[in-house]
Symmetry: C2
DNA sequence: AACTTCATTACGGTTTCCCGGAATCGCTTA
DNA sequence: TAAGCGATTCCGGGAAACCGTAATGAAGTT
């Protein structure tokens, strides 16, 4: 089994549960941290000491508090670790079950498992660790269709950027000017209108407000 | 101390943590459920058996699964319990730290404590139980300004209804007609415009899309 | 009854958004 | 080189939203 495991989660009681199942799996070298920055430092230190971690189990959202963090979220942590320590296995253990978010995480950072916190969360996590140890990918039943479902697969970064800009209060014309300045194409007002129209059809949104609201609900923005 | 306590939370590991601190507090009659409906039934049964619970510790959000629920969220549970068993002490233990949501919960259902899940969550929960036992109100430091801060206090149900309607894709005119039908006043298009304008000023939103996005972010809708 | 006050409603002009058609550009293929 | 095709851009008319102002209505006050 894994020789050295790190668990990152800011809720003490979650950690407790994870430690319990870890023990059942025969993992006897498990450490826990409550901040992503701590996780990063430990993992780097492990490398320097020639005693690297071989598994990270991490949450996605960490509460902010007085400590300012370089990596405020699990996603930030994963991003940097995937670059610097590509051999480390990463299991995400999060409450997040919105398909778009899960989909982006899996495709962008190519994590080894995605487990949803929930009633069966610990069981699934246990299974996930075993699967990942065998070099297989694991995903919770609950969000497994994040991979297969094609319905919203043809939404690219431009669409997301557009919706984010709208949600932040910019008018379509302002966005157009902004894109022109930043050399983002397409940038014409007409193109923006057309893109929004496409999105509205895809999500059956009746107007732009509705579209942005849906985008927020499904975790797209 | 409390004689009979019920803990409602769908995450097993959270429950584990809560049970631990309960033991430390000298609570030796603590039960746990993973669904709000189960919580409701147990509490009602306690009443019938003349052996009522005197404390409920509950989460707010419960994941949906195959079991269809009459009370899908903690808020639904609290709502009905406050009517039917006003003597029961209720402690909310949730990850939710958005002020508007906390504020509404406290003012509408007059719960006995609000504790944020987080790094210090269990300690605070322990403190909360003690305070509530002494008939005092408890709220986590993190969201304590939900009570004092007046900035958004003059937002009423009408405003929320309006924003919800917008987020669901209705045009202002459609909302006006809908309000007229349902005898909700004010209902004229002009009034709706005015109200939206007031909200935009309060939240420094530059347009309606922005306003709805902010409303979603802060948990107003 | 006349007056004040405040919320609601009505209205008109301006801006933004919405939507379709047509022209242009860039790339591929014949 | 020409033709074809999709993406982008330009344009124009109509709808919805935006914004200020005026009219109406329902209290309570003098």
């Amino acid at each position: 089994m894994f020789k050295k495991v790190l668990v990152a989660d800011d809720l003490g009681s979650i950690n407790l549960g994870v430690l319990t199942i870890a023990k059942n799996l025969g993992l006897n070298n498990v450490e826990r941290v409550e901040y992503c920055d701590d996780a990063y430092l430990r993992i780097k230190k492990g490398l320097l000491d020639n005693d690297p971690y071989d598994l990270l189990i991490t949450d996605l959202s960490f509460k902010e508090d007085h400590r300012t963090q370089k990596y405020p979220s699990g996603e930030d942590l994963i991003k940097v670790l995937r670059k610097e320590t590509p051999n480390l296995k990463i299991v995400v253990y999060s409450i997040e079950d919105r398909l778009q978010k899960v989909r982006r995480l899996i495709s962008q950072y190519n994590i080894n498992a995605y487990v949803c916190k929930g009633r069966k969360g610990l069981e699934e996590l246990s299974k996930a660790v075993e699967e990942v140890y065998e070099d297989r990918f694991f995903i919770s039943e609950q969000v497994s269709h994040a991979l297969s479902n094609k319905t919203t697969l043809d939404i690219d970064d431009f669409d997301v950027l557009l919706l984010r800009n709208l949600a932040s209060g910019k008018s379509q014309e302002e966005i157009s000017l902004d894109f022109k300045q930043k050399n983002i194409t397409p940038s014409s007002l007409s193109s923006i209108e057309k893109r929004l129209n496409k999105l509205k059809i895809q999500f059956s949104a009746s107007n732009t407000i509705h579209l942005v609201a849906i985008g927020k609900d499904i975790g797209l923005i």
